[in-house]
């Protein structure tokens, strides 16, 4: 049924479809050419933007689309990073397999976090997931010889198809390919029956259950997918930094993801990407002033909560109606 309407919609407006293809092609070309205009440092910043955009997209699935106050994102991120680092460091697995491993681990951990979410709502879920993140951080610190404690683990350089990604420009293409593929799949899921079920649960859980949409099943699916996406982002983060330590996955990391989702626009994938561009570039500028970053993020968050409930994406949609996303009720 939904496929049918999709087809008729496309046939009715071939011009729009062509226009979209052109925009997408131009965007892809621009993204591929980025390394031509960057130096090592700006390339590193662009790479981090991609990683954080992916982490925020995964967070948004649960926070924005499913509407659950779950704070396990830094935990998923850390688990993905540690999985990649451990698999590459000890098992000497090639990078693509290690990243696959972090996706599987992330999905399993998403399942573990998703199951309590069936019983717990609102604040209780927020507290449990917050605690889960801190518990994981404790585990990294007390992991003995395996995680190397607070000193952290070195991550070997990623190699793909015989090419070693040892520069930031080479890493860029690896990261871009993975991030684009995962964001694209997330978008497909969110626009499918499953994604509409997430939004329906957010709007009214009881009504969903009475219509035969099982809230429990779709909540678990959302958590599993969110865990997978964020763990993959964490795996890319490990490659990007070349060394990971427990302190990379503390409450500060959580604030960054949270701020990206909220300021970019809750319940909007484009918003998460915009938020990542804005907020990932900022810490680089503010690095020399401890505390300033937190102050600016929190002031932006407060401003968004008071004046722009839909964040940057909402603002953009107001200016350019074509950007409006249908899954959010105004």
């Amino acid at each position: 049924m939904s496929e049918l309407t999709e087809v008729t919609r496309q046939q009715a407006r071939p011009g729009v479809r062509l226009q979209r293809c052109a925009v997408a092609a131009l965007l892809a070309l621009a993204l591929l050419l980025v390394p031509l205009v960057t130096n090592d440092y700006t390339q590193y910043v662009v790479n981090s933007i991609l990683v954080y955009a992916l982490a925020a997209v995964g967070f948004n699935v649960v926070l924005g689309y499913l509407g659950q106050l779950a704070f396990a994102n830094a935990a998923f991120f850390g688990i993905g990073a540690y999985t990649v680092a451990l698999l590459m460091h000890y098992a000497a697995l090639p990078f693509p397999l290690a990243l696959g491993g972090s996706a599987v681990t992330g999905a399993l951990v998403g399942l573990v976090v998703g199951l309590p979410a069936l019983r717990l709502k609102g604040y209780y879920l927020a507290i449990v997931t917050l605690v889960f993140g801190e518990l994981m951080r404790w585990a990294y610190v007390h992991g003995g010889d395996i995680t190397k404690g607070s000193g952290g683990l070195p991550v070997p350089e990623a190699a793909m198809f015989g090419v070693v990604a040892d520069t930031d420009k080479a890493k860029y293409y690896v990261i871009l390919a993975v991030v684009a593929a995962v964001i694209w799949s997330t978008n497909r899921i969110l626009r499918s029956r499953v994604g509409r079920a997430f939004v329906a649960i957010r709007e009214n859980e009881l009504a969903c259950a009475s219509l035969g949409i099982s809230p429990g099943r779709y909540k678990v699916i959302a958590f599993v997918w969110s865990g997978l996406v964020v763990a993959v982002a964490g795996g890319l983060f490990a490659i990007l930094l070349g060394r990971i330590s427990p302190e990379s996955f503390n409450l500060h990391q959580l604030l960054l993801h949270f701020a990206i989702v909220m300021i970019g626009g809750i319940g909007s994938l484009v918003g998460s990407i915009m938020g990542a561009v804005l907020l990932t570039a900022a810490p680089e500028i503010l690095r020399n002033f401890p505390g300033l970053e937190e102050i600016i993020f929190s002031l932006l968050l407060i401003a968004v909560l008071l004046f722009l409930p839909r964040g940057l994406a909402g603002l953009a949609a107001r200016l350019v109606p074509a950007l409006k996303e249908r899954l959010y009720r105004e």
Binding site: E134, W138, F258, L292, E294, S298, L301, L305
Partner: protein, 290 residues
């Protein structure tokens, strides 16, 4: 060893109880769970530090002034951040606002005090009291005494005073309360102020026995969540009993099993309680509103 551990657990637990008490009072009046309560605790301690060392006030006036300032800050937060969001603001947004202001205060503290730790001189320098081989410091006694006093005060306030009943009515139905002529914003503002002041009192009492640093609120927040969860969310007595139990169990686990366990004990308590009996020891099961 057992009695000494229990004793120091009670002293430690009184602090958790005091912080949990502040959160519970706010929760009961406004149904907001304040993720920024740890920052009231941190700011209270730092305010006293500034008033003592920069302004040069003696301890007692400094502490009183800090408490008054924190009360005003709490009222200001309600007026500036929460009232504009409206009565019908979803719980998620309100919780996010508390997260936002907590990081704001943390950032401000970091801007001034960087990443170092600041020792505060002990205020009450009476020698520790020794009874039958057990050692109790005067600081511990003062903390436990203040907690007990405040608990009694709030019990009386909520149960027997007109203002306390107004606060309770407001939390049950803000709309209904305003229909019968209760000034709902004023009640909420007062409760925010009270919560901030209690948080600050806890911070001021603890400051001399711990060190001051901008992130000190985070640790105490999680332990207070554990105390509230254990006692039953929103239950005044539950928060206190939960806090004391948390303190004692933490010390026992640290003393008999492993000191590394102290750091995560609160996490384990939260997870076990929420999975086994989410309503805690004294809480009632919530019914869903359709």
């Amino acid at each position: 060893m057992l009695f000494q551990l229990v004793l120091s657990g009670i002293a430690q637990g009184s602090i958790y109880a005091l912080v949990a008490l502040g959160m519970t009072i706010l929760f009961r009046a406004t149904t907001i769970v304040n993720f920024g309560h740890g920052e009231f605790f941190m700011l209270g301690a730092f305010l006293v530090y500034v008033l003592l060392h920069v302004v040069g006030l003696p301890f007692l006036p400094a502490a009183l002034l800090a408490i008054v300032l924190m009360f005003l800050l709490g009222m200001g937060l309600e007026r500036g951040l929460f009232r504009p969001m409206g009565e019908s603001a979803p719980h998620i947004s309100l919780a996010m606002m508390t997260v936002a202001f907590s990081f704001l205060f943390r950032g401000i503290a970091r801007l001034f005090w960087g990443r170092e730790v600041y020792p505060m001189p002990s205020v009450f320098s009476y020698p520790p009291i020794e009874v039958a081989g057990l050692i109790v410091t005067s600081q511990d006694l003062i903390i436990a005494g203040t907690t007990l006093l405040l608990v009694l005060l709030f019990f009386v306030f909520f149960r027997y005073t007109r203002l306390g009943r107004l606060a309770q009515a407001t939390s049950q139905t803000a709309r209904g309360a305003s229909l019968v002529g209760i000034n709902v914003p004023l009640v909420h503002g007062g409760m925010w102020g009270t919560a901030a002041a209690i948080g600050a009192i806890a911070g001021i009492l603890v400051a001399p026995i711990t060190l001051l640093y901008p992130d000190m609120g985070g640790q105490i927040l999680i332990r207070s969540f554990a105390a509230m969860t254990l006692g039953g969310f929103g239950h005044l007595g539950g928060a206190v009993v939960g806090g004391l139990l948390m303190g004692v169990m933490e010390q026992l686990a640290g003393g008999y099993i492993s000191t590394a366990l102290i750091d995560i004990f609160a996490f384990l308590v939260i997870i076990v309680v929420l999975l086994v009996k989410p309503s805690g020891l004294f809480g009632r099961r919530e019914a869903a509103h359709v």
